[in-house]
């Protein structure tokens, strides 16, 4: 019987159809980190390369996927880490910064391992794609020199494009340079990775703020990419705002001034308003500029603060109090000068439909004395320079309408990406946008369809080396997540530029890599080889595998040895076996240890490496990926 026929029959009888493992997205989803990464970086593969000491190869695999491994290895938002399967298996001793009653899960320190690849790599110049000396005759303008534009440039330069980059600031990097303090991201790391792209021969115009899109359209570029970010910090119109204006600063603007050395000191007592990562950067920067008492205030409870757990921890570690449930009410001005802020304390009265806390004002007013206030309450993109009469469609929020798939605006040939497209995200999303926009620009310039996206590459190869030998380290290492060494607090607070996190050394990295479960090495089941001896079910350390009567998926999930309650994880369901039962595997907490395959007498189970690579505009930027796909 054909697979499709079996599936149709199962559906008709209210049963779960066999899993279609031919669809590459099925196994892709099992690789939680790669699936969660906006650029789908093959995380387990580069972790194995680090384990082998092949740092340059690990770096290149990263560079091809996410363009800025050294930068992202320090300041990435790390969507991969909360997704990491290890976090569903192992809970550590460390409390959560947002909810101290909870212990933190222990995902693999993926981000820090990425930095290891960057820190320990050798000379990679000869591994970079060749840039054709003969250009293809197409001219592209990139507006804004942040991660999105730089990713577009990286992807298009090897194809022979003539690219001009326009940047308002005197140096490239965008938000990565202006809003991320150098004690988190040193300038030399930024210069290296940004410079690598510009050295491909990108024409750069710094200090060149674009004031009119209409004028740009008249310049004859074949395509224009807008990667201007979300440069406008939100303001709070409260009583006293105007009178105290000299001592009230918009967080991101203030961080930019600090980054360029225009601001070198701040008042003795500083209040930071906001609960995101910018607020954490502001308070820690203020401390380094000599403030003696820095207080962060957040309107909502600590539990729902937007900042990353680790950034909150770093701020707390530096002795900065974070007062939650404090809604700003007014700026207190005395003799024309800011002397404090009043807040009204909020109380939580329940949760709304989305599970967010419902807050009510308690009437209790708190005054905090201060000399300066930094507002880090959000930011948005702004397009005062795009004329409204040039045919661009704007949506109800006054933002240009951008196609989610092609990244093109309503003006053909004008593309958007990064925070400029749909509001603030983060660096890794900007890079992902850049890749997609580059594909569209290349298609647009060559008259191909923008809607037909190039397909990802994928391979599935057995990792069996011998009777009980696999080509990957399949043993489970129960070790806890390795902590990252920090510079001393004393030295850090004195030096704005001193990097706080020192990164893993090769010895710590060698321990951390063994924690990776190799989720890309898939458990592949061939139903017609199975003799239903139960050996795999009995050996599975996490009770994933079941031999069971088929049912509809909801009932099947409940009937497993351990009910499969995590619905974000799929069930791997086989076709009918000889007894009429099926094999159903809950992918949720599979350790990928390979014991099912070792215990299988007939080879019905096999461990096969699933390699997956997203398409990019230039295949020259995927040479390490191509090697990975064919290995």
């Amino acid at each position: 019987m054909q697979a499709s026929e079996i599936a149709a029959r199962a559906r008709k009888r209210g049963r779960t159809p066999p899993t279609d493992i031919e669809n590459p997205q099925y196994f892709h989803k099992v690789v939680d980190c790669q699936w969660a990464c906006p650029t789908h970086t093959p995380v387990p593969e580069y972790i194995r390369l680090i384990a082998q000491g092949r740092y340059s190869a690990a770096y290149m695999l990263n560079w091809e996927s996410n363009v800025f491994p050294g930068i992202l290895g320090r300041v990435c938002d790390r969507p991969c880490e909360p997704a990491c399967r290890r976090g569903r298996i192992q809970v550590g001793d460390e409390g959560n910064a947002k909810d101290p009653s909870k212990k933190n899960a222990e995902p693999v320190a993926i981000c820090r391992l990425k930095r290891v690849a960057a820190d320990y790599k050798g000379d990679i110049d000869n591994l970079l794609p060749a840039i054709p000396t003969e250009k293809n005759g197409k001219r592209i303008a990139l507006i804004g020199a942040g991660p999105a534009s730089l990713a577009v440039a990286r992807d298009l330069m090897p194809l022979g494009y003539d690219i001009t980059l326009f940047e308002r600031d005197p140096v490239p990097g965008g938000l990565m340079r202006t809003n991320i303090p150098s004690f988190r991201l040193p300038a030399n790391v930024l210069d290296e990775e940004v410079g690598r792209i510009l050295d491909f021969g990108v024409k750069t115009l710094f200090g060149a703020e674009i004031k009119s899109l209409k004028a740009m359209l008249g310049e004859g570029y074949d395509a224009i990419f807008v990667g201007t970010g979300a440069p406008k910090g939100k303001d709070l119109e409260l009583p006293g705002r105007k009178e105290a204006a000299a001592n009230i600063h918009i967080g991101i603007d203030w961080l930019t001034s600090v980054a360029f050395g225009h601001v070198e000191k701040i008042g003795r007592r500083v209040v930071v308003i906001g609960g995101g990562n910018t607020a954490m950067d502001c308070c820690r920067t203020a401390l380094r500029l000599g403030a003696e008492a820095v207080t962060v205030t957040v309107r909502s409870p600590r539990k729902v603060m937007k900042a990353s757990d680790w950034e909150i921890k770093d701020a707390l570690h530096e002795g900065i109090p974070i007062l939650d449930n404090h809604a700003p009410k007014s700026f207190v001005v005395k003799d024309g000068k800011l002397v404090g802020m009043t807040f009204e304390k909020m109380v939580q009265t329940g949760v709304d439909a989305k599970g967010r806390p419902k807050l009510e004002a308690s009437g209790e007013i708190v005054t905090i004395d201060c000399d300066d206030v930094l507002m880090a309450i959000g930011q948005e993109n702004a397009f005062p320079w795009i004329e409204r009469d040039i045919g661009m469609t704007f949506n109800e929020w006054g933002q240009p309408a951008v196609d989610r798939k092609t990244f093109m605006s309503s003006i053909p040939g004008v593309f958007f990406g990064g925070d400029a497209a749909w509001g603030p995200e983060n660096i890794i999303w900007a890079v992902a946008h850049g890749h997609q926009a580059a594909i569209s620009i290349d298609a647009y310039c060559h008259g191909r369809s923008l809607v037909d996206r190039p397909k990802p590459g994928h391979t599935l190869v057995s990792q069996k080396m011998g009777i009980h030998e696999w080509s990957y380290s399949n043993n489970y290492d129960p070790r806890n997540r390795q902590a990252v060494p920090h510079a001393t607090l004393e030295a850090s607070l004195k030096n704005l530029k001193l990097e706080v996190e020192l990164g893993f050394d090769d010895k710590i990295a060698a321990r951390e890599v063994e924690r990776c479960l190799n989720c890309d090495v898939q458990t592949v089941f061939t139903d017609n080889l199975c003799i239903e001896c139960d050996a795999c079910m009995d050996i599975c350390p996490v009770d994933c595998i079941n031999f069971i009567e088929n049912d509809d998926e909801a009932d099947l999930r409940m009937a497993l040895r351990v009910p499969a309650l995590n619905k974000s994880q799929d069930l791997y369901v086989s076709g009918p076996l000889k007894t009429g039962r099926i094999m159903a595997k809950d992918e949720d907490v599979c350790l990928h240890c390979g014991l099912c395959a070792e215990r299988c007498p007939t080879g019905a189970w096999d461990m096969q490496k699933f390699a997956y690579a997203e398409a990019q505009a230039a295949s020259a930027c995927l040479s390490h990926h191509n090697a990975y796909l064919s290995a």
Binding site: R88, I89, Q90, H468, E469, N474, N475, Y476, P478, I531, E532, C533, D534, A535, M537, D538, I539, P541, V542, D543, C544, V562, P563, L565, K578, T579, V589, L591, C593, L595, E598, R599, C600, P601, T602
Partner: protein
């Protein structure tokens, strides 16, 4: 066998029993048997049974002889008492241990060679004495450790892997056990845990000699198409006496439908019950003659009858028969355990 140990990590939502233990806490070391060996499945069923019955491992003694089967106790209950004895001598060692400490649960694991050949005499006398133990035979019809020679339980019509004919009739251990007076006799299949698990639970609860013959395919030497002890043959020729078995612990309420005509329950000594559903055209498990008849007539057709074959709910065990002290030897004070030379002289004087 594997180069890696079974990872210590377990499913975060793994259920815990009344002792706060997971089924992982009842495991032993990694099996070194061949991949797909039926014995590993039986091991898993024993683990599951002890977990579900909330048995503390230190109240269990596992005893075995020699053979693939007798290696198995290493793979379950690593925290219980254990004795890996001489070939075929598991019953004697268990008898001694049981006499000394009647408070432990005894799980004897043996194989078809260990029980039906070298240990046949030992087996018969343990049954006859109604030793309070669970005796599990992992029956694969061959000597797996020595490259698959026929054992005494291999059916006459079942050739070797290379096609060599078996000239001898098989010993049917269940029939023997019933004839010799075993109080609880069952047969099962390693590939059917739904049947095997409640049988093991009931056997452990049974006070007296409880015997389970488990057909357990040898994947390496006796799982070929012509073998009557292969996964495929047993699945095709298995006639379960019951559609479904349920072990109900003493503390549990019986919630399932109880229908007079199609189901019956066997009361075990500790107050637990084994519910037997739908004994279609089968036999009454309390009738020894009917049990033997059913086994024989089906065997003649090449069918293997599985399930609870025979039970005597009123059996007295060896301690009852001998009238031994209620307390285990380690619970007796020294003065009673060794009453001194005067008492010995008195005994001797009585014998003169």
């Amino acid at each position: 066998m594997s180069y890696i140990a079974k990872p210590s990590a377990h499913h975060p939502a793994l259920p815990r029993n009344a002792l706060g233990l997971t089924r992982r806490d009842y495991e032993g070391s990694m099996s070194t048997l061949c991949a797909g060996c039926g014995h590993d499945s039986i091991t898993a069923a024993i683990i599951e049974a002890c977990f579900e019955m909330d048995l503390p491992a230190h109240r269990i003694a596992k005893v075995s002889g020699i053979g693939c089967s007798s290696k198995a106790p290493t793979y379950f209950l690593s925290r219980s008492h254990g004795f890996n004895s001489v070939h075929g001598r598991m019953p004697s060692v268990t008898t001694g241990a049981n006499m000394a400490n009647r408070d432990l649960y005894y799980i004897g694991v043996s194989g078809d060679g260990d029980t039906a050949s070298i240990g046949l005499g030992q087996f018969c006398h343990a049954v006859r004495r109604k030793l309070n133990m669970t005796y599990i035979v992992m029956n694969n019809g061959c000597y797996g450790l020595t490259k698959g020679q026929f054992s005494a339980t291999n059916d006459k019509n079942s050739p070797s892997k290379k096609g060599e004919a078996n000239p001898f009739d098989a010993i049917d251990l269940c029939q023997m056990a019933i004839q010799l007076g075993a109080g609880f006799v069952a047969r099962s299949f390693s590939g059917d845990k739904r049947q095997l698990l409640p049988l093991i639970q009931a056997a452990i609860s049974y006070k007296g000699f409880a015997f389970i013959d488990v057909v357990s395919p040898c994947v390496t030497f006796n799982n070929h198409p012509a073998s009557t002890k292969s996964y495929e043959y047993v699945r095709m020729h298995n006639m379960a006496s019951e559609n479904k078995l349920d072990y109900v612990e003493p503390k549990e309420e019986i919630t399932a439908e109880y229908d007079e005509g199609t189901s019956t329950s066997v009361e075990l000594h500790d107050g637990s019950q084994l519910m037997l559903y739908k004994i279609g055209e089968g036999h009454d498990p309390r009738d020894a003659d009917a049990a033997i008849h059913t086994i024989r007539t089906n065997a003649a057709k090449g069918t293997i009858v599985t399930g609870l074959l025979y039970v005597n709910e009123d059996q007295h065990d060896l301690h009852d028969v001998l009238g031994t002290d209620e307390r285990p030897l380690n619970g007796l004070p020294m003065s009673e355990l060794c009453p001194g030379s005067k008492a010995l002289e008195g005994i001797n004087a009585r014998l003169r």
